[in-house]
Symmetry: C2
Subunit: 447 residues, 2 copies
């Protein structure tokens, strides 16, 4: 074991009452956790005490009466994370925001502000919004076409990153005696004119001590993977099995390399919702009991969500999974493709498919040792750079931080103390030199 | 003196290094105050200790290299106020945001989130953006016409207030035993279709304990006053003299009454930047010394700002103030009109006009007693409901909170303790019943 050994990275997805059917009914979880900033702060502090790299806030801007509890009623990511920023000191803060329904100037400004407030710990999880109904909240008859969304996202991100470099890092002498606040030569306009956006700049805020917020992404479709390989510095991945995770990991790292990027600078974190008990048998029993409480009607709604809330109630439950060839898959395309592919490959009926996705196979069920073993296998086996743990009930999170994390630390796989101050330092990502600064040319040459 | 006596309301405008030429050069003020969340938190806590009603954050989304220091480089209001929210417990939190360059769904959501995070202390200062150059940061060749801006603002606010009522206050039974999280009948779509916006809703966040954020506004032009009388619950007013303030106060209160509103539910707060010293003579000397340090070139830039950064360098400084009849006054229209009117009425040259606005007449210069007397005169004389104090250098703010506030408290003009928990309670504003709730009809009838 050397000090240079590659380390796991851990995120904590704080999603209040949870994104599944029954998370919110857990007796220890406050029913209003999704709108209670104290819940978020308490859990962020627990994650920080356990030396996690970051907390992660998911998001989407559309609901119906049938939407799952957490989505129905929750705090907005930027305001939430600013409150968490001043209630913590080391942990990274990743917030989700869509490029489909915002102005780049406002997004650049709010994330830059979060980055300063947190003293260099902000990350933006760039999404294009899977739910087609969201268009109606933003004056559009229909959502952007899936491919357009990604082209728009790429240009949006270009604009935002350009705006973030509006001031060189030494632009403000603030010399009170001489009366020089700004070195005007170090303020830069952007003057971007593109397919979707035209933005003059400059942005009215300086860079933070990590240079720019970290860019996360979570795409699973062909377009999503291409975008991730091109621009992501962190990826929240979706993987049901070691094999799936390995395929995704190899593919996205290769795409990054093809773009001339260092694949180590794309940190891939699959979601993790372990079920932990003293013994493997107890953990398996808990998992089965949880699955036994699922409701078929809700499972059908949940199955339809990535397909623009497609109404599965119209089909025969016990016939083979229906032909959805008439749907355009413009919503959560990667997730929708996964459902259809799984149903076809495994030859499932609609009922079986609904159960299959309400109670997805979970590779992380067992004793603390078993779960740590599986984490190690994925990490060393080329399936991930770490995990994004989804926090719901407090007892389960405590089991993970108190029992699993120490095993990972003993094995030299996870930090026992933060080595740096910024999220870029936690994740081993380079400091982005300002594009207008003399050091920029050198930094590009060294990549 | 009775317990029902009308009380002064005080806001603290936290504007970092300050919006004038030389504020930032004060030896006690950190040069990076505008981007230092710790500066904002410290001053919000001082204002809260002095029992102020609220802190107030101004904003605008456009800069040039010649812009004054605070505007050049500052934190964004929503992220800033969320951080302040969890660092304070009583004081209100008012943030400025423009209706010209945002989506109503995003604005509704972020202010609702701030309102929950602060447990009912949020206010939105609704502006339409005076600076025409801002259009270029949002894909527009030119800014909206002044009248269009206000029509757009009115519809924008309608949408936001409608979205804020998406959930009735008892919409979430969160009954874990029965499995009922939401009472679906108490979630309401908006289905707004108007001239500028079409928004289906519902918003994915519940109301706070104050029902909805307080609506502030700061318009000075004819359109601005009409909008204020129609929708504002608080107004940040601009007044150079007691007489000006009285005229504005009477006019806006009358406009509110004409709209069928209770004039007491429009709280009018002129800006206040007192110069305080032990004696009147000392205070006058400080004021004169400050004015003596002003720079004419910067004063000319500042004079041009409300006129779309009009270049006054092109004119003879000692000729009468130039004819600007060719300008459309689409920027800060009220401010621009005031400059032109003042120069004409007082028969000033351009040089005199520049000095006149760089060193504006300040009625609040003197000993603590003198300043308290003038505050009392304005308050009891029908010129205001209180003041919005602009915080810059720490020593001056301490003189105000430690020396002037206690005099106002002794005279029974200002609270010695918060009586309520929410900003609406501090300002004496009614709780807005949800438009979909049975109690709404009764509340409307009682107004």
């Amino acid at each position: 074991m050397t000090t240079h050994q590659r380390k796991l990275h851990l995120g904590a997805i704080l999603s209040g009452v949870g994104t599944t059917q029954n998370d919110w009914r857990h007796p220890d979880l406050p029913g209003d956790a999704s709108v209670d900033i104290d819940w978020y702060i308490a859990n962020a502090r627990l994650a920080e005490a356990a030396k996690f790299d970051l907390v992660f806030i998911v998001d989407s801007p559309f609901i119906t009466p049938d939407t799952a509890p957490h989505f129905l009623n929750r705090l907005e990511p930027l305001t939430l994370l600013s409150a968490v920023a001043v209630s913590t000191s080391k942990i990274g803060l990743a917030g989700t925001l869509t490029t489909s329904f915002w102005e780049p100037y406002n997004v650049a400004r709010q994330f830059a502000s979060l980055d300063l407030i947190s003293k260099g710990r902000a990350a933006w999880n760039v999404v294009t919004t899977g739910l087609e109904g969201a268009a109606g909240n933003y004056g559009r008859e229909a959502h952007f076409d899936h491919a357009d969304r990604y082209r728009r996202a790429a240009e949006f991100l270009d604009v935002v990153k350009g705006l973030w470099d509006s001031y060189e890092d030494d632009a403000f002498p603030r010399d009170k005696a001489a009366g020089t606040f700004l070195d005007k030569a170090k303020q830069h306009r952007l003057d971007h004119k593109g397919e979707f956006f035209s933005v003059t700049g400059p942005l009215n805020i300086q860079r933070s001590r990590q240079g720019q917020p970290v860019i996360f992404q979570a795409g699973e479709s062909e377009e999503g993977r291409a975008f991730g390989g091109a621009i992501a510095e962190g990826i929240y991945a979706n993987a049901e099995s070691f094999e799936q995770a390995r395929e995704y990991y190899a593919d996205v790292k290769a795409r990054a390399a093809t773009r001339g990027r260092n694949p180590d600078h794309v940190v891939i974190l699959p979601g993790l919702i372990p079920v932990i008990a003293e013994t493997d048998a107890e953990a398996q029993a808990i998992e089965e009991a949880q699955n036994g409480k699922l409701d078929l009607a809700k499972a059908l709604v949940q199955l339809g969500r990535p397909l623009n809330y497609h109404d599965f109630g119209q089909y025969d439950l016990d016939a083979p999974f229906p032909d959805l060839g008439h749907l355009t898959l413009n919503s959560y395309k990667g997730g929708a493709e996964r459902i259809i592919r799984t149903a076809r490959t495994e030859g499932l009926t609609l009922r079986e498919t609904a159960w299959r996705f309400a109670a997805r196979p979970n590779p992380f069920v067992g004793s603390p040792e078993t779960v740590a073993d599986e984490i190690e296998r994925w990490f060393l086996g080329g399936a991930c750079d770490g995990f994004n743990y989804r926090v719901t009930n407090p007892a389960a999170f405590a089991l993970f931080t108190d029992r699993v994390v120490p095993i990972l630390q003993e094995r030299g796989l996870f930090r026992t103390e933060y080595a740096g101050e910024t999220l870029r330092e936690h994740l081993g990502l380079p400091f982005p030199e300002n594009r207008h600064a003399p050091a920029f040319e050198e930094a590009v040459a060294a990549e």
